[in-house]
Amino acid sequence: MSVRTLPLLFLNLGGEMLYILDQRLRAQNIPGDKARKDEWTEVDRKRVLNDIIMTMFNRKFMEELFKPQELYSKKALRTIYDRLAHASIMRLNQASMDKLYDLMTMAFKYQVLLCPRPKDVLLVTFNHLDAIKGFIQDSPTILHQVDETFRQLTEVYGAISAGEFQLIRQTLLLFFQDLHIRVSIFLKDRVQNSNGRFVLPVSGPVPWGTEVPGLIRMFNSKGEEVKKIEFKHGGNYVTAHKEGSFELYGDRVLKLGTNMYSVSRPVETHMSGASKNLASRTQESIAPNPLAKEELNFLARLMGGMEIKKPSGPEPGFRLNLFTTDEEEEHAALSRPEELSYEVINIQATQDQQQNEELARIMGELQITEQPRQSTTKGDDLLAMMDEL
C-alpha cells in the first residue's frame, strides 16, 4: 500500500486526541482560586495541551515520520498515543485510554470515508493543524514547529497525483477496516447508524472537479456534440461552489477535521454489539510475528524523541477520567469485549548494552527546549528495546 500514509494518519489522530482531551479538561475545569490541589485548572489544561503538542511536533520525530514507509500495526500506533497522552502531568487509566483511542480512530475513519476527493484528506489534516495552532497561540516556538510541519506536508503532498491520493485513501481505509464502535455524538448527529456504520449522504455538493450526475453527452466522429440527454440519478447533488485552500492560511471549506466537541456534549462510546462478526476482524495482532522486530525498532527510535515526564517530588500526577465517574471507568475496564482489547507494547528498560546505545545516541541529539521542565530521570526513562514478542 502507499508508503506516504503514516504522517497523515498520525497527525489527524493526534488532532482528534487533542480535541477530546481539551473538551474533557474543560469539562472538569475548576476556577484557579477555587481549585483544590487535585483538581484541574485552566492553567493545567493549557500546560497539558502544550506539552503534548510540543512532543507531537518534535523535529526529530517528524523527520522519522515523514520517511516513506509502510503503515505500522495498530498495536504500534496505539503505543505511540499512549506515550503521547502521558507526555505531560496528566495520567489516564487503561479504560480511559482505550476510550480515547476508540473515539480518535472512529472520528478519523469517518473523516476519511466522507472526504469528497481523496486529496481532501490533506484539507482535513490542515483543519486539525489550524485548530492545534489555536491551542498554542502563546507559544511561538511550538507554533513555529507546527508551521514547519505544515510546510513539510505541502512539500510532500503538494506534488502527489490524484492516483497516489487514491492509494493513500485505500491504505487508510484498510487500516480502519472492520472498526464499528458506536460513538454517541455520531449517533445523535445521525452520522452513524445504530449498527456502527457511517451514513453516506447522497445529497449536497459534489467534489471539486466532479460534475453533478444526470447528464449524457453524445458526440459524432468529428468530436462535435450532437445530443444531450438527462437521466434521473437518484441522488440530490449540487455543484461545489469553492475549492478549499491548501495554503498556510485559508478557508478550507471542508468541515471534516474541525472540532466537533464542545463542553456541553459529553462523548461516549458503546461497546456492546460493536463487533457482531468476530470472524471478520483481521487476525494480525494474535500470532507472534518475528518481523515485528523492525517495527519495534522504529517505535523505539520514535519514542527516543519523546521526553516522558514522570511525576516526582511534591507535584502528583493528575489523573483524567474520560468517563463521568470513577465507577463507570472501572466498569468499562472490566466489561471491554476481548476482541476490542488493544495490546499495548510493554516498554521496559533492559540491561541490553547494544540496544541502549542507539537510543542513547538519539536522546543525546535532542535539543534542550527553552521551557523549564521537571527534572526527568533519564536513566529510568531511557527506552530500550521491548521484549521479544
Binding site: L71, Q170, V202, N220, K232, S280, E294
Partner: protein, 346 residues
C-alpha cells in the same frame, strides 16, 4: 463478468431489480477498485465469486439462488518485508483450454487452478529501480487469447504465455505504453479474427492504450487522460468503456480512440464497470447504474440510455459485476461489508 459459455440473448427495455439472498463473506471487502470477480459456470449450475479482504482474498462458489457451497481463502506468498503484504486484485482468466485464478499483490503475481486449490505459478515483482517513495505492486488482470496480461506499478504490462495445461507459464513480453501505475485491463476476442484479442489498459493518470494480441502485442490506439485516474475499463464490440475518479463514464471507439459518449454518471470515484451487453457502473457514491448501449442506425455511433439506478445505502461500493450473460442479475461488494449483495430482475 466472465462467461465460460456463449453469450445469451439481449434483453431490451428498462429494468427493474430487487434484492435477493446475500452471500456471507468470511472477511469484509477491502476499499479497492474492481473488487469483485465473477465466473459463471452454467454447465455446472454454479457461480464463483472472488473478493479481496486485505492480506487475504476469498473465493467461493454459490448455487443459482445464492446459497453458498464452498469457500477458500488465499494469501499472499510471503516475501521479505515488514508488514503483511496486501492483495490488490483477484480475477478469473478464461483461456481457450483452461481457467486460471490470478491474484495480484504488493509482492507479485500468483496463478492458481480455477478453484484456488493449487498454485501453478508465482512471479515476484522486481522493485529494483523503484524510488523509495513508490509503492510496488501488480494490479490489472485480463486473459487475452492464450495470454494473461497483468499490470504493474511502473506502468508496464506483463504478458504471460499460458500452456494448455501444466505450470510451464512463461513471461513472454513486457508492454511499455504507460508511465503511471496500471489500474485495470480488459479484453475481448478481436472482431472477425480467430485467436486474436483486443485489449485495453488503463492507468492512474487516466490514459488508455488499445492493443492487439499476438506473439508480439501491437499498440493500436492511445487515448490521453485528463489528470484523473481511470479506475475501471471494459471492452466490448469495439467499444471502450472507461470509468474515472471524477465519476464520469466515457465510451470510445476502440479502433480510432474517438470519444462518443460522456456520462456524468456518479458523484464520487467509479470503482467498477461491467459491459456485456448492458453497461453496469458502480461508484463510491453508493450507486450502481445500468445503461443500455446501442449503435445509431444513421451513423453507427454509440448511443446510451439509462435503465436503472440502485442505491446501496451507506455503502462505499468497491466491486460490481453481472452474474449472467443477459445481464438480468448482478452482484455488489462494499467496503466493510461482510457479504456479497445480489440483485435480480423482476
Amino acid at each position: 463478468m466472465v462467461a465460460a459459455d456463449s453469450e445469451g440473448p439481449k434483453d431490451p427495455g428498462i429494468r427493474m431489480f430487487r434484492r435477493e439472498r446475500s452471500i456471507p463473506l468470511q472477511g469484509s471487502a477491502a476499499a479497492l477498485c474492481n473488487n469483485l470477480s465473477v465466473l459463471q459456470l452454467p454447465a455446472r449450475n454454479l457461480t464463483l465469486f472472488g473478493v479481496v479482504h486485505g492480506p487475504s482474498a476469498q473465493v467461493l462458489s454459490a448455487a443459482p439462488d445464492g446459497v453458498p457451497l464452498a469457500q477458500r481463502q488465499l494469501h499472499v506468498k510471503e516475501g521479505a518485508g515488514v508488514s503483511a503484504p496486501h492483495i490488490t486484485q483477484v480475477h478469473w482468466c478464461v483461456l481457450p483450454f483452461r481457467v486460471l485464478l490470478v491474484l495480484t499483490s504488493h509482492r507479485g503475481i500468483q496463478m492458481y487452478e480455477s478453484d484456488g486449490s493449487i498454485m501453478v505459478y508465482w512471479h515476484a515483482l522486481d522493485s529494483g529501480d523503484a524510488p523509495s517513495v513508490q509503492a510496488v505492486f501488480a494490479r490489472g488482470i485480463a486473459a487475452s487469447g492464450h495470454f494473461i496480461c497483468v499490470g504493474t506499478w511502473s506502468g508496464r504490462v506483463l504478458v504471460f504465455d499460458i500452456p494448455a495445461k501444466g505450470p510451464n507459464i512463461v513471461l513472454s513480453e513486457e508492454l511499455a505504453g504507460h508511465q503511471t501505475p496500471i489500474t485495470d485491463i480488459a479484453t475481448e476476442p478481436a472482431q472477425g479474427q480467430d485467436g486474436v484479442a483486443d485489449m485495453v489498459t488503463a492507468d492512474d493518470s487516466g490514459s488508455l492504450c488499445v492493443w492487439r494480441s499476438g506473439p508480439e502485442f501491437t499498440l493500436l490506439t492511445r487515448i490521453p487522460g485528463f489528470g484523473v485516474p481511470c479506475s475501471s475499463v471494459q471492452l466490448w464490440q469495439g467499444i471502450v468503456a472507461a470509468g474515472y475518479g471524477n465519476g464520469q463514464v466515457h465510451l470510445y471507439e476502440a479502433t480510432t480512440g474517438t470519444l462518443n459518449i460522456q456520462i456524468n454518471a456518479h458523484a464520487r470515484a467509479i470503482c467498477a464497470l461491467n459491459l456485456a451487453p448492458e453497461l453496469l457502473s458502480a461508484a463510491e457514491d453508493t450507486f450502481v447504474h445500468i445503461w443500455k448501449l446501442s449503435r445509431s442506425p444513421q451513423n453507427g455511433c454509440i448511443e446510451v440510455e439509462h435503465c436503472h439506478s440502485e442505491c446501496v445505502s451507506d455503502t462505499q461500493v468497491c466491486g460490481a459485476q453481472f452474474c449472467d450473460p443477459s445481464g438480468s442479475s448482478f452482484a455488489v461488494t462494499g467496503y466493510d461489508l461482510t457479504e456479497i449483495l445480489r440483485f435480480g430482475s423482476v
